[in-house]
Every structure is written in structure tokens, then in C-alpha cells.
Symmetry: C2
Amino acid sequence: MTKYVYLFEEGNKDMKEILGGKGANLAEMANLGVPVPPGFTITTEACRFFSEHKGKYPEGMIEAVKKCLAKIEKKVGKKFGDKKDPLLFSVRSGAAVSMPGMMDTVLNLGLTDETTEALAAKTGNVRFAYDAYRRFLQMFGDVVVGLKHHDFEKALQDVKDSKGVKTDVELDADDLKEVVKKYKKIYEKAGKSFPQDPFEQLMMGTNAVFSSWSNPRAVAYRKLNHIKGLIGTAVNAQVMVFGNMGDTSGTGVAFTRDPSTGENKFYGEYLINAQGEDVVAGIRTPKPISRLEKQMPEQYKELVKIYKKLEHHYKDIQDIEFTIQEGKLFMLQTRTGKRTAEAAVRIAMEMLDEKLINEKTAILRVAPEQLDQLLHKQLDPKAKESAALLGKGLPASPGAAVGEVVFTANRAVEMKNAGEKVILVRTETSPEDIMGMDAAQGIFTSRGGMTSHAAVVARGMGKCCVAGCGDAIINEKEKSLKIAGKQFKEGDFITLDGTTGELFEGKLATVDPELSGNFAKLMKFADKYRKLKIRTNADTPKDATKAIEFGAEGIGLCRTEHMFFEGERIKAVREMILADSLEMRKKAIDKLLPYQKQDFKGLFEVMGSKPVTIRLLDPPLHEFLPHEEKEQKEIAKDMGVTFETIKQKMSELHELNPMLGHRGCRLGITYPEISEMQTRAIIQAALEVKKEKKLDVKPEIMVPLVGTVGELENQAKVIRRIADEEIEKSGDKLKYMVGTMIEVPRAAVTAEEIGKVAEFFSFGTNDLTQMGCGFSRDDAGSFLTEYVEKGIYDKDPFQVLDQKGIGKLIELAVEGGKKARPDIKLGICGEHGGEPSSVEFCHRIGLSYVSCSPFRVPIAKLAAAQAVLKEK
Amino acid sequence: MTKYVYLFEEGNKDMKEILGGKGANLAEMANLGVPVPPGFTITTEACRFFSEHKGKYPEGMIEAVKKCLAKIEKKVGKKFGDKKDPLLFSVRSGAAVSMPGMMDTVLNLGLTDETTEALAAKTGNVRFAYDAYRRFLQMFGDVVVGLKHHDFEKALQDVKDSKGVKTDVELDADDLKEVVKKYKKIYEKAGKSFPQDPFEQLMMGTNAVFSSWSNPRAVAYRKLNHIKGLIGTAVNAQVMVFGNMGDTSGTGVAFTRDPSTGENKFYGEYLINAQGEDVVAGIRTPKPISRLEKQMPEQYKELVKIYKKLEHHYKDIQDIEFTIQEGKLFMLQTRTGKRTAEAAVRIAMEMLDEKLINEKTAILRVAPEQLDQLLHKQLDPKAKESAALLGKGLPASPGAAVGEVVFTANRAVEMKNAGEKVILVRTETSPEDIMGMDAAQGIFTSRGGMTSHAAVVARGMGKCCVAGCGDAIINEKEKSLKIAGKQFKEGDFITLDGTTGELFEGKLATVDPELSGNFAKLMKFADKYRKLKIRTNADTPKDATKAIEFGAEGIGLCRTEHMFFEGERIKAVREMILADSLEMRKKAIDKLLPYQKQDFKGLFEVMGSKPVTIRLLDPPLHEFLPHEEKEQKEIAKDMGVTFETIKQKMSELHELNPMLGHRGCRLGITYPEISEMQTRAIIQAALEVKKEKKLDVKPEIMVPLVGTVGELENQAKVIRRIADEEIEKSGDKLKYMVGTMIEVPRAAVTAEEIGKVAEFFSFGTNDLTQMGCGFSRDDAGSFLTEYVEKGIYDKDPFQVLDQKGIGKLIELAVEGGKKARPDIKLGICGEHGGEPSSVEFCHRIGLSYVSCSPFRVPIAKLAAAQAVLKEK
């Protein structure tokens, strides 16, 4: 027969599935010899039975509870419901994973009219007894019986009012008896009776915990936090201990190390003559744990011995709760402590030094995603406390930024050149704004989501960005930002926290990241274990340098279109687009060649012999044309054509679904001269850098948006012709590769054909997600949030690779590619390349590398190492 | 050693691959004992060698040619280059597939200064000999040596001018000698010499044929017509016979049956004293072949015997060429005759009756695509001859339409109700125009391709449409159509030919289709063999009735959104979209319920016990809002909201990529009340029709745009809840199915999961192609044509299912679906459901049915039958 009830000493920490986290840890402590008030746990399996059988208990459960009670009574020498020395219990829920939303705690269970009198007599403290009773009546009424919290508050207030006092403490024993009377009336009025049988109280409490597993808040929490596969919550009944029995009693919470810095010192707070809830409620100010040493030296010494024992036993930082009842120390909880990124890294590295854990465990101890916090400038937490919060948008790209408001990209560049620090404020950004974004300290937009242009580009640049702050009213023409009833003009200072999405008024202090020490050590261990290579997405020597600093081993994606926007060249680009004939187009393209060559030389010089994957022009041409009439008129003037001609061309280039339009390799196929120029620039640059700097340059030319092998054949032919021509002309030698993005679903399922032509595949998971799932990043906002909330997708597939669907397409492509070319190089260069669970997936399916923005390189490294370790 | 040269008698009709079509048929005729002038064929393999070895011949080829020549000389008793009785040859190209663009014909090869004299002497006809010589000089100079055709024309004109005559016939022998002199000078001037060695002439002619295989026109033709896998052209050298040697000579072309009607009678024309080219050139008017019986009874009798023999031998209609030289009949060519759809059906059915072919062959004899011609009203071919052609657009939907020009949908409806026949003329159409399109005889647009809204909807309606006629300037505001220098106003008559894409001025006569007789017989045979069920895409009882007439076995796709546009209901739809609260939305939706129910009742009544698949609302909501300010203002007034509110809502609903936006099941998930209303309407309608008409109604409710099983689960739950509720309320029973479109690539690769929830899959190949290939139908125009021209895609994947890529996704989905649910119903409902090669694919991969527009049902049936027959 299934065992549904466990005494603490019958369990252990590995039984979380059936005892819940709290129960398992109480059991573990009990077995470790740590002083834990005795108790028992009713299992999650009983909860499942209860849920599935309309509130019935499994056979034998009641009897088992009774048996446990009897054993505990014998142990502590008190009896539940005893009229002289009654035993009291706390009842708490506890699932395998910590989960708010369920019924939390009922204290003092076992008090009745009779046992309260007994407690008063036994402790000699009538006030204490009736205070405990009225608290129990209220908690039980509220969470078990379902009476209104407000009614209890009001009754208490009435008694205080009639006595003319302000706080509970001022009420004496008689007042509290009066409160108890009033509380009982609340039960009566609602047609409920308060059970005077302690066992009935216990089972009602159990029912309430079990039922709360299925309450809407708990269900919503599980959905939102992707908690799946749990069968229910356990119920922990534990003998009450009181920290509020005078000056030899007290209660506290503590961490075995500093959870904020990771420093190896005892960290926490306590209150004398108080119950646990008082520490949390914040009515009285707790004292730092170190003071306890003076106040209760003996108990402190014991506590230190216990916390060390626990940390040593669990081999990780512990978050503990304790109560001291009349000089006797009891542990009420221990669990793994939550910690900041800084602390996580320090604790892992120091525990390794202390030989508490081994290398592999140390690597697995830091959540890769957390590292992001360490790589960016952050707001000084102290400065934030007193700052004026103006509003909140999406935390689109982490870090902090302080600067003067500017409303246009051009102005951002001007002011930056004049030595100012600026924040670019726009309704939304477009590719035209790239230079301004680069010049700015941070970007703030009122529209767009986590994958809007502003967000994606800012993350790529490692630049702080708060996006989609709907409360902000931005008028770019009038150069005004209105938010929180205030108006900001150009030159006014604001501060962004991209890690939280907050916008503050004025200049806030910031703190710089620290990449040496423990961080560097962790990275070294990650490098030791990982198998995936980590490349970066970088379009400029600046980005590339940053990425190498972070340990990038190559460029996985250089987007050449970003180079098209800078300075004079955008003019030539526009000439190219607006050209009426092949000849005019070629003329414009020829102007671009020297620029592009310089760009590539810069990259090659930084990257040395590391491979550099360069993607040929990808976006639809209309993205390069100006959207505002004023600028359109300027272009017309520059090019000597009429404004009408420009308008006409704009309308010709307009597309209903630009994402699925004339872009990617389709441009190179209809305008081969663009691919020719880009190839020439790449190969000339590579040859020159090779010669001038004696570097073994490794260009990899990548064709975007291939859906069918014919497209790649067409472009590969152009690329190879031009490349071979340039190499021959130079008299030198150069190895280069030609490959393709796999980002169109059709390419994934016909990868075997494509692999015969491509020397490498790079998975463009952004577009593959868009086309594979059939939703556009720009438009999915209207339903994707709801989808994730409803659990239709586990996570936003633009942030976390959808392994089941899009991953399946990738697996098909890997299989096809390897069949065609066993040594094919396989990488990923979408936003997912720096997302830990996606990196793990890439490792598992056998990719050669992942490529991500410079600031995510360390994250990817750690995730790649963890992927290897998790495999074993 | 490979044999590179075949005497005609050494080959047969099955050797097309190496002898070409012409050569193989000449060989077949020679062996049948039909009088064919002797000759030989140089194989396509020699051509391949020639192409691959820079113009060299394979070893032994020259010798083989010489041997053949010798044998022929011996046979006919004349010698090539003989100075008394010279043998002359024609040289013609001929690949396995008939192919314009290559060098065609050189006649009279073997004539030199000397042999011309000999020919004159032998025939006693100096004029004849020199006329032959000058023709040869010109043809050889033009097509073999590469001299300018114009120079020869000018020289001939000069002689005519100096003699003061107008036609060639007026030139005598001396004049022609003068022409010959001038022609030779043209060679000299260009630095070329005319070879006086007949064998050299022959080899130069051979080179010219071989080289022409690779000329740009021929290459382009092969690409355009998807001719692949051929290795080259053959060269046919055949002893010359002359139809221009006086009144006992002649030449003609004929068909063994009437290629236009299919009637079993000898059909053709001939000319006395003429060469083949004269019949084609149209200088003299040829006589009907029946007249030959009187003019040359003996030869006619022989010709009839031969044509019957050939038809009986080939068991198909033959297209033959003959020449009579001085009373002796020679056959120069036979090949399978091209025929109209009408003829194809009649010939197949009559040959079956004649026991010439069996049922299977008869079914395979008609190209399914051709049937389209038979199902629609057509322009009377005679009326077209004298009609004023205004311009040409795309043949977007076949048939003919005559009517008055109207420029708006509303006006089309008004005029139709007033009893007029109208043609809707618009720049492009949108869903708002549906009612107007339905009211019109035909649709004419100046923009949009074969899969534009106008084209797709018109084909669905079986309505004539000419789309994308770029020459037309349409101003809807001013109600004016300008084309070919003319202006048309509302009420002016025009005529469309949707089969050719032509637009004519005025009213042209039309002829009605005939669906009984041979057509009905063919359909019966198709039904006997096919395994696929054929359903139709129909949204109205009218369409459904039409489809049943054509033999549809169910509805595979009823698009409910079309129902949303009619009359009053569009108001309620707009109210629903513009609603601010769930309550307002529900109120608007409730107004739609009775309409929808009526719609479905109509369909169920027509379809009886045939299954009806109804797709829930699919398009993005903004499609239902009016695009013009005037109408927007009206709505605002109707709804009692400000124009600004409407504008605001429009901008909120605007999407950058609507194809990948908030549509399909995403609507039903964010607004479950829409799915609820639609389900209620379907089930109530089904229950009522079942009860009222005692029909075994079979509704199949289809969820669109599912990408992940979660979406389907969500919607299936709503549907089943409402459906079961309605059924229970009725007290009756009703079987219904819940399934999904598979049109998102992710759905295809996760079909096993989805199949656990879906009772059927219907492949939406339009969207699957868009997302799978990553191009939008609306925008692909800018590159897709070029893609097909360059062979990157074989065919436009929106017209012909891309079996390799999109087909692969479908195969994966079929596999997954069957794994999850072995008896899953599988169908296709995209535009491809009526395209023959796609239908064959659907059969091959094991679908249960295809669904297509009513007018394509017969095509799909025939294609499905052929798919079975081809399999064996």
C-alpha cells in the first residue's frame, strides 16, 4: 500500500517529488540531527488522489495521520487537544517547486476554547494564549473557512477603538478575549461553525492546502512559470514553537553567505520576542544577525554550527529560518538560497577553492542568463532607491544609460561628436537610425516589443534599451517626450535601466562591470568543457573587438546592410536603388565598392585568422529609402530627378508582406551586380589584409534567404567567378568558403540538395521562426503574449528556440546537410545563438558553433559547457 | 562503337531520344512501306559530342555519313554532286521534342554552279533550276553562313526593280541567273565563300543544326517550356522532292481527323505546283484537301490509304506533310496532331468506340488542363477574327464575358439588378468587391498576377477574368478606362477572353459549353478508375450546385469570411471589429449568427449527405474595414463613434506583414466568441436541415492556420463544447468532425502531435507555399517570373505544387498524421487541388481527396484517374 504520510525522520532531501521541497528539507534536517520541531508530511500523491476524487482521501491516510500524531505526542510528551498541556501545530503547503498562490500557513492549530485556557495556565501568560487563539481564529477563518479577512480586521479595530488605543500591543488579555468573541460571531454570521475538535481543524487545514493546489492563482502561476509535471502539493504539519514568549525567545532568517555579493560570511536578521511573520511583515525593524552573538551567545554559537553543517551538507548557499523558544533553538526551514549573478559566480568559484564542490558542479551552479547582468554598466542600487521613476517599458537590452534626450539619429551623432552623452528617444526605430543608435548611450522607444528593431539592434550593440513604453508620448517633430505628467525637451537628462525596463528622471550614478577575477576563472572552466565554438554577430571592428574581449572565436554573422547606412554611402545606395538602367546601377554600385572594402579590411584585421562569415545584402531595398518627405525631396534634388520619380519608385518597391518579399538572395539574383560588388570587396579586402598584415584571413561568404538549391547555385556561381578572378589577379592564394543561411522552411526540408552546393549552413532562426511558425516578429505582439500566457507556446519562440517545431526543421536540415557533405560546417546565427536552452539544443544536435551578439558570448560559452556536463 | 548515323530504314518511332521526333517518324514510315524520300539521320548523341568538344565530330561519323550517302545514291540511282543528274538533299533539325528556335530547314542542298546547270538540263527547266539555286544560296547564306537576310531581299528587289516587276514569279531564267550572281557577291563582300562542294555544304549544314541547339533562342525556349534532359538535336538529311515541277506536282499538309472539332474526316489543304513553304507562307491560298480527289484521284486515293494506315498504326490523330512530284506521292512527315480540347475528348471517345484504343489509353489521351476550355462560355472564333483587340492582360480565369463597363462593386450589383450585363473594371480588387464580382459577367484589372485577389476569386467563381493588363489606365473615381488610345465610360460595351487574356471593344458573339455526350462519357471513365475523391471549394449554394453538376463529392473548403461581406452583415462584422468591450463584441456577433446559420443551411441543403468542410474565420480583421475615407466616415456615423476612433482602430489593426499576422485560429483564440458563434451557426443549421429535410448532414469544422497543437486544442475545446451543447439542446443526434488546415510549416513537421487532436487534415497549399518558400503571393511578382525563366523554380509554385519542397512538408505531415491516427482523413484545398500534376502527387502520397473550385472538378477527376493509370 502506498505510504501517504511520513514522519520527518522517515524522509530525506531527495524525496521532493512526494514530500515537496519544504517537507523534504525538514526531513533531511531532522535526520542530520539539526533541532527541528517534530512533524509529519502528507504527500503530494495524497493531494493528487484528493484532486482526482472530488475531495476524498486515499484509503488509510487518516489512520496514518493519527499514527504519526500519536508518535509525536509520545515524543514531545504533550497531547493534541490536551486540556492541560496541549500540543499545537503549524500547517503549511509545499510542492516540489516553490510556488506562490497556494494556501500558505496556518499557525497555532489545535487551539480551542479549552486548550487556550490550558495554554494560558501552562505558560502563565493569559495574554499570550488569547493572542495566539485570536490569531488562529483569524487565519483559519480566512484561509480555511473562506471568511472575509476584512471582517476580522474590522472586529479588531472596533475593540481598539472602543479602548482608544492604536496598536495590537496595547490590548490586554481581556481585550483579546473580547476579540475572540467577536471573531467567533463572524463565523456564526456566515453560518459556519469554528471546530472545537483539534483533529477536525487539522483535516480542514489539510483540505484547504490540497484545494489550493487547483485555485486559479496557483494554476496561473504554474502556467506563467512553465511549471509542469507536478502532481500536487504536500501538507506539512509541525509542532508549534514560539519566538514570542519573552526576551529569551526570538526568530530570524539568514543566508549562509551574502546572497548579494557572494562573500563567505553569515548574513541575516532576527527579532527578539517575535514570530516569523513579524520579520517579514516589516512592522519592527530586525537586527543584523551578527548582533545575536552578543544577545544570545550560546544560541548564536549553535546556529553558526548548524548553518555550517547545512551548507557543508547541501554544498550550496542555504536560506534558513529559525526560532528560539525560551532559549531553545529550532530550525524551521532550509533551502537553496537565491543569489545575484555576482554572488553566483563568486560562490561557485570560492566553493570550488574550498573543495566543497568540483569543477563540473561549479560550472553548473551559475545560470548562464544571469551573466548578462555582469557584462553591462548597471545603475547603482543605492542611487535607484531615491530616484524619480517616470515609467516602465520592456527590458529590451540590459545595462544602464544616462544622457541627454535627443529625438533624431542625426542629432544624436552631432551631440555625441560634440562630446555629449545622449539617449535616443523615438516612437520606434528603423534601419535609418543605426548611426544614431550607435552614437547614443541608450535607446528609449514607446512602441515595439522585445524583438522590435530597437531591441534587436541594441542587444546586438550591447547597448541599453528600454522599448515599448506605452505610457510615453513622443513627438519627434516637436521634439518632446511626455511621461508621468512631465515633459522633456532635447538636452534634458534621463536615465534608463535596460535590465528592468525603467526610465528615471535626471542623472543616476552607475557602476561598471568587472570581468576579471572569478568571472574570468569561470569562463576558463567553461572553455575547458564546451565543445561548441562560440562566434559573434558583429558588423564593425568595434563590435568585433568587444566580442574578442569576451572570447569570441570568429564572426558568425556580419550583416553587410548595416554598412550601407553610414555617411556618404547611403547616397550611393539610394542611387543604386533608384537607378533606371543597369549602367546607372553599376555606376552607383562602383561607388560603394571602396567603402565596403574598407569595412571588411577593418573586420579582417581585428579577427586575424579567425573565420569571418559575411552575409550578402539581405533586407528589402525600400528599407534604404527615407520615409520622410523632406528627405525624399533632398534625394530627388541630389540625384537630379523629380520628387514624383522618387514617390513612384517608393510605391513600386512597396510590399504587402516585405518579410516574404524581394529580399535576401532574391536581390542578388535580380541584381547580380550587387553580389559581384560585395564579393569583390570581400576578396580584395582579404587579399590586402593577408598581404599587408600577414594574417591568414578566412572569409566565408554567406547567401541569405535561400529556399531552393537553384538560388544558391545562381549566387555561388557569381561569387566563385568574381572571387577566383580577384585571387588570380592578385597572384596570391586565398581560401574562402561559400555557404548559405538556412532560414526558409523549404531550405530545411531540401537541405540535402542544398548541402551539395553549400560548404556551410548557418541557421537563421529568427526568420526560420517567422516563416516556420507563420508569424511576423513585428506583428505577433497582438497575440503572442496571450499565446504564452495560455501555454500555447511554452515561451516566446523568438526568445527561446522552439525546439519541437523549428528545432525539428533544423534537425531535418542537419541530417540532410551531413548526408550531402559529411564535413559540412553548421552554425546558428539568430537571436537564439546566445540563449542558454537554445545553445544546449545546438550542442545536442551536433552543430559546430553558435553565433551571438558580443555581450552574449560569455553566456553562450557557459551554456555550451553546461550542455556538455548535462549530457553525462 | 556508337552508331551515329542511321538510314531511315534502320530506325523506328521509339528511337526519338537519339533520332529526334522527325527522324524517328520518318524511319517508322519508311519501315511501314509508306513512300518516303530516302535519307538518313545523324543522332542527337553526335550533337552532344559536338557541343561538348567545341565543334568536333565523334570518330567515324563522317565515314558513316559517306556510307549512307553511297547507299542512298545507289538506291535512287543519282549521285550527290553529279554533273548530269545530281542528287539534292533537304537538311532539317529535329530533337526528341518539337522545339522552335533551332535552325529549321535548308532545301536544295547539293546545288552548285555545275549541278544547277545539270538540273536545268535534266529537267529541261532552266528557270526552275536557277530558282532552286537562288533559294538555296539565300537559305544557306542566311542560316548556315550567317549572312544578312536583308541583303538577299534587297538584291532580289533590285533585280525586280530594274526589270520593273513586282513579284518573283515574273522573273525569268535570266533574271534569276542575275539574282544568283548578286547573291554570290553578298558572300564575297562578307569575306565568305559559297562552297561548290556538295559534301562540304552538307557538313556545314550539319554544323549549323548542331550549333543552333545551343543558340540563345533555343536555350530560352527549352527553359520557358521546362524541356529538360535532352542531349541535343538530330540532323535529318533527306532526298529532295519537288512539288513545284508543274501541274502534276503539288504539296500539302493534313490531319487524319479534324483537329478543331475531332470529327473523323480527312482534313487539310494543298497547293498545286508549289513547295511546302508556300502552303505555310500564305502567299497563295491553299485548297481544301477534298478537292485533291478530283484533281489527282489516284494520288488522293493513295494518300487516304496512307493516312489511314498511319493513324491505325500510331493509334492517334496524325499531322502529315506530303509532296507530289510529277505524279508521285511522297510523305515528308507524320507526327501526333495537336488538337483542341473538344477534339481531344471526341477523338479519344470515338477511337475507343472504334476499338482503336482501350479505355485506359482513352483516358490518358486528354490533357486534364484542356478541359477548362470546355466548361466555360467561349468567344465565337469567327467573331474574334474581325474584332478590335484593345489589349492583352493575363488569362487569369478562362471563359468569355460581354458586358457594360462598371467601375465599382456597388454599381455592378445595381446594374445587374436592373437586368444589365456588366464587366467590373478595377485597378485591382479586394474582398470588399466580392459582391460586385459575383454580379459581373467578368472582371478586368490593370494590376495583379495570376494569383491576385481578382484572379483567385474569379477562378473560384468560374468567372472570366483578365488581370494585370498593364496598358490599361483605370481611374475609378473618374469612372474611366483608357486603353489603346480609346476611352471607355460606364455603360460602354467591352468583351473579355479570359482564356487568352484579351480585351475587345464592343459586344462579341459567344458559344456555350456542351457538357453531355463525349465529355460526360469521359468523366464516367475517369470516375471508374480514380481513387481520390474530388471535392469542391464553395462558399455559396450557387457554387455548390454548380460543383455537384460537375460531379463534386463534397465541399473541401467553405470560406466563411466571404459570407461576412454580404449586405447588412458587413455592418455587424465591422461593429464586432470596432467593439471596445467583450460585451459590445458579443452583441455584434449575435447579430451575425442568424445570417451564418442561413448560409450554412443553404449549403447543407444542396450538399445533402455529402461532407461539408467549413473553415472558421481566417483573414485578418482589417480586411473587413473599408479602405476609403468616405466609407470610413459612414461607418463612424452608423456606429455613433468619431471618425478619429475609426482611424485609430485602423492604425491599431495595421500590420507590417498581414500574411504572418493576427489571422486564422489566432482570431478564434483571442476572440473565442467568434468561434463560438460560427460553431453554433454550423451545428444549429445542420440539426435543422437534418430534421426539416431528413438529410444526413455531415459537417466538418476546420480550424485554420494551426502551427502548434496547442492552438488546435484550444479551438477544438471551444468547438466541441458549443457543438455538444447545441446537439444536446436539440435532443437529436449529429456526427461532426473537428480538424485543421495544415498550412503552416511548423504544423507539417509536428503533424504527429496535431493528428492526435485533429480528425482530419486539409492541406492549405497556398499558404504552405507562401510560408514554406518564404514569399508572399502579393509580392513575389517582382522576382518569381525571373525565377521561373532562370529555372530556379521549374514552375510558378503557386500554380503547380512544388513537390520537392512543399511536397516534402506535405509528405512529412501525412506520415505524422497517419502515425497519430491511422484512419485520419487527408485532403488538399489550395489552388493546387485542381492542377493536374499536383493532383497526381496527392494521389501518390495517399491523400483521401482533393478540393478545387467548381470549374476545376472535372479536371481534377480526369487527373486523378490518370494518376492511377500512370502508376501501373
